[in-house]
Subunit: 302 residues, 6 copies
């Protein structure tokens, strides 16, 4: 091991930090120390689950007799961290705000967010009902709350969307990528999703930033609600690039629906593996038909 003692670690550090141009100067770095903290955001999300599903996600640190006191204490803790992380996010984006403006704005956003929790919970209870009714394998709603990745993703989405709608930068995305990593379901916090939303299995689902989804929509694993093309790159920012899904639509596994002008009319069913870049009328059933399959003998199996 002798040799490693004499490596020029300092020189390599210099090389890492010293690269010219771009975002790599030492002064530049310092500013990033102000980004919202991923670990704290994830902890905050975990506590939000304890708040909206009281009793399901047990905190190990404190025993209680009256869940009311515990929830109130937990909520103050969440409020504290939301406020902290929102301030960091605002400082990051709005370098020109004064410290006071930033603080005032962070407090206002936090208040709005905390006040929204009961409303978010009501939405989630409707989602849970949709999950239960949609999945024959679900024994009961408790199992769904405790173990369904689809509900996990939807829950994080609904909270992240609140912050997105309040104009908070960066933070909602960190939240949704946390859910993405846990579930394989990628819902952009900017998407608009109605009531009674149901995701089954879920791995591989992508729902883009400008997607609009109605009520009573069901989506299965591997579905993409995406952009038609990204040719324009950054010039497309802010434009509607992802489809609109109206009420009572079911989209089976592996289907792709692309484009900002694509509208799936209400009460339609999109079959598995369907690839759609055009709108369909309400009450339409679309499925892969006559998929030409070569069916040959395989006696000498590979």
């Amino acid at each position: 091991m002798d040799d490693l003692r004499f490596m020029e670690f300092e020189r390599i550090t210099e090389e890492i930090l010293g690269c010219s141009g771009g975002a790599c100067g030492i002064e530049e770095q310092m500013k990033f120390l102000q980004l919202p903290n991923r670990e704290k955001v994830e902890d905050m999300v975990d506590k939000l689950f304890q708040l909206v599903y009281p009793g399901y996600f047990r905190d190990r640190s404190l025993k209680f007799y009256n869940i009311r006191h515990f929830l109130t204490t937990l909520m103050e803790d969440v409020a504290y961290h939301v406020e902290q992380q929102v301030q960091l996010a605002l400082r990051y984006r709005h370098g020109d705000m004064t410290e006071d403006e930033r603080q005032d704005k962070a407090v206002a956003i936090t208040k709005a967010f905390i006040n929204a929790i009961p409303r978010v919970r009501e939405h989630l209870l409707l989602d849970i009902r949709a999950f239960y009714e949609g999945d024959p394998a679900a024994e009961n709603t408790d199992e769904i709350i405790v173990s369904y990745p689809g509900l996990r993703a939807v829950t994080v989405y609904r909270f992240a969307h609140e912050l997105f709608a309040l104009g908070v930068p960066v933070l909602p995305r960190i939240m949704s990528e946390y859910a993405h990593a846990q579930t394989g379901i990628d819902i952009h916090p900017g998407a608009q999703i109605g009531k009674y939303f149901f995701i089954d299995h879920g791995t591989g689902i992508v729902i883009g930033e400008t997607t609009v989804i109605g009520d009573h929509v069901k989506i299965y694993q591997g579905v993409t609600l995406g952009g038609l093309s990204t040719r324009g790159g950054q010039s497309l920012r802010g434009k509607k690039r992802h489809p609109t899904i109206e009420d009572n639509v079911t989209i089976y596994s592996g289907a792709s629906i692309l484009g900002g002008e694509t509208v799936i009319g209400h009460d339609s069913v999109i079959g598995g593996n369907v690839f759609l870049t055009k709108s369909v009328a309400p009450f339409t059933r679309v499925s892969v038909q006559n998929q030409e399959l070569a069916i040959t003998e395989a006696r000498f199996h590979e």
Copy 2:
């Protein structure tokens, strides 16, 4: 930060807890405190890996000279936690059982489960052989045990299936969703899977509750063995809704095979992206044929 101090946190707590109807009354909540504990279940699963793959997943807390003593101690720990969590699961589902009945049943289930470990291990050793033979990128079986997500998912499945077969509610599902989160592979603990099972890459695989799979079956990433439709919702519970895959079948990436009456005859090969809702005879090779592709010049690349 002044303002937040005066938020009505208590009122919001009331709103969260007080919503009328459904599963949200305070008394209701208390019952959920009795659900199996996700964190403990995940810890139990991690220890099962140490038990069936002795030496591969090292425990940091204790050094040992004779792996035999260590495994025996670990097994007692696993038995303790299985018994605890099974009791919680039984209390949850069978509210009418007496405490004594529940305890007797939990002990009986735990014994059966622990006794099954050597048998499960033998199955897994066959799976590992299938993994090794099926994957040219595998250097050796150790690499497979230590790092292949497919084997991780299969291992958890085989244990969860034992508990499922013993009639334990909720718990097997928490186990399989743990594997799902880690691997992106979603195998319902109710599925029946034969020997020499091989999963490659695996992300996006869904294997439904009533699926039946024979021996020497290979499945690639993104394959769905699913229900044909979920129109019936909860009324479909308990019915066979997912396909049957006979021995020696290979199913390539992205294929979907749907429906409870769909049978893939033995020694067949299902090609990538195939979408099947009907049975195929033994020794059949099915592949997407003549997929009509528009091939145009793209000189002005996006």
Copy 3:
């Protein structure tokens, strides 16, 4: 709980350890205690992120005023652990090496790896630029570094590939499966990937061991760059089994490109869900065309 006290735990341990043949004898086990340690490897990867993206992934254990000192200390720590794990990996594969040879080789590999960090970082900065330009939803490059799973997977790949190229066994695979578990993106460390590589969303992507990818390539979720068939099993080891993707190619979601002789010519676009087993010329646009869809009325919605 009475009964469990009298279970024959020791007998079951014997059964687990005593199975005849294969990799399960007690003496065999002992050797596996020498495999690289998954937990330490994952910790090492986390620290590599702190090194190449200084300031973005904050270490909680130490505060600092001058990031230079902190990075240098961190780099020594990384070097230490790389050297340790490389030694374990070498011992595992090359049982015939003397202890001294192994140590010399491990030191040499570690030096090469640490010296490569600045170069890897330069590559990653180009990747980040590609991510930013390719994704209209990206607000800025910081958000990409902190939260994009695609960049996470690419970062781990670039480091794992360095070790793979230096001939280190097992270790690179543990690294890439760590990224796979976190992101659902499975890039084999043996793949060769050029500059300005962009992955969007990413869940379900599989890039096989012998894949070759040029510069300015974009890949979306669910894309497989895989082998045509695995009929040959282990006999295929070392052969080129995965496709070649030339410069400036875009591959949309769900597309599968298979086979070692398949070449996607430069400046081509492969559309969503396309299934390709043959080469296409440069400047080609391939898309699913005339997918025959059954479009029927669905008034009595399921």
Copy 4:
């Protein structure tokens, strides 16, 4: 290291467990698994400090805006653990109680204990005043609360004494030994101590089980209020073996006052290193007088 692998660890375990007679049979052992848990008791004590000195001993796990919610939650947690540990202690001592009797008694004791907290706090505020007035080195009362070992010992004593007075076995002693280990001050929970009690420095102080101390008493390091002799051993149990110290007494460092019939009359001062086994009247000043000291030249210093 080879050799150790073949040690007869099992035989040594047998020797440890198999020794005949006394408290060492395996069945005997099992009963001890029911003793109050030292670690949990210590955690409970730490939380009592947070409760009686709100704001001084910060909990890291939860941030709050309104200390009221936090304290209430904390108090429920303390109540839970007190009840648990009291049950264990009762089971240990009263093997003949039914489970129900034990539970009822534990609940009653816990209620009495929790209700006593405000009263204990009032007492402690008076002690703090005595500490401040007695110590010229004390800058303020906050410093005393945060850092004085004397106050730490007195605080633990006052809580342990409550449980002792409620008839709880074992538990109070574990509490007082926790304080003893932290401060070097050994106050038996059975001692009776009045208001405005002040301990300075404190290391080495011993206050026996049947000691009675009035109001406004000051005690310095190394003071023993002990038994005259322990000749009688267990036959002395329950008898008054330790002295009585009336109001307004000061006892300087290293003094020993021994015997159950020894009474230090009110408003007396006992000087440093005095050794007393007899009572002294009120308003008495006792000091070592004419300590015969050999005073010689020490020019050739050791």
Copy 5:
């Protein structure tokens, strides 16, 4: 356990917080949240040991090849926390300072403190030499550094004294009470202690705030260098109340030397258990003489 659910925890909280007068109103409490943090201070002290005794107290979090980089990083961390805690301490004491003044002062103090570390280390190396030469049981100086409580107490004292001399309130006392709890040795940070200071065993030693100690002084367990009386209480603040010990003095176990005007002349030896309230000339040996001992037969041993 039923009952506890209905306890009036909130009422008891009110009682705790609502007591009239003194330091217990809710608004009052809030201010205390600003005290230096005991846990952080203790962590800072542990790191100071790593800094002044490099290599002896190993940090587990980071491996290194060049201790220089590690120490520099550690020093920055210590500087950060010193600055933070000094700010808290200043805010606590100097409520009237502006935030800017406080920050400037905290930075100035921290700089002075960090710059003093090499000097403190030199002093400590002399102390270590005194420990080694004074204790025949010491095998070598390493054992002293790693395990002697006396050196631990002296080390913390020397650092706490630096901060005390720089006018930092509260913080030095928290540091010295940390050492007191670990060693039973209570050295007030205000004491002035010369070079080559040696403490043996140490438990029970008390060295008061205004004590002055010369070079080459040795002190044994149970020695008090204290005030003659505390009759005056707070009115004595700031006055010299503790003795002066000149160079080359040895004070054996259990001796008490009291009073601000008491001077122990250089090259004197104070014997065990001696109780002194008057000065002695240089080159004096003082010992308990002709201690009248009752020596009687004890055939019927207790």
Copy 6:
């Protein structure tokens, strides 16, 4: 905080490391990295308590049904760490041993130590009996095992003494200083102590390296069994410097017995605060007699 960023931390590091002479050169430092690890030694001691008092000190990491398996596993862990730390200690002291010699010696010592555990336990059971019989405040032997600092110190001493007797350097002292910090009782591992040893309260007790103590000896808090003088410093190493206490002797609190030739004859009683530097015959009772006390009126109490 600006300023601290520009402190010359590197220069200060140089000063710390660069001081000329003594034990402070960088190369010197590296050797100390080989000292036994205090934290690991303390962990080992805690596990020894679990081993000799099975059931009293519960391990949280593993549940078990058969304490036999758990103890065996724990014993292997202890053996592993003893062997590791003994090797470090040997390397430290015997720089000239070959690696193989060192390893062989460490294995031999570890075997002897582990084999001694049952014998040590038998001794401790006798000590516990002495504790119970000697202390009227002891309710039962369990309380003594769980909470008496005296027994803690004696237990650690008995184990440290085994290693001391086996010629292990440094390590035994680290063990005894761990007990010293926890209990305020300082027993040098070199002391020889007979059966049925009882320590009450214990804070401040010092028992020197060459002390010899018979059976059935009782010692109270603040007792010193020390050297007469340390004039000779290191030249006294290895000589008998501390007293001999024969069987059935009781030594009350605060007594000092000094000198290597001082023998307290069997069946004697040494009273509180007695200061002895000469031998006493068997069956002798020694007490402070006619301590001249000034008894004056104290009506104007301080």
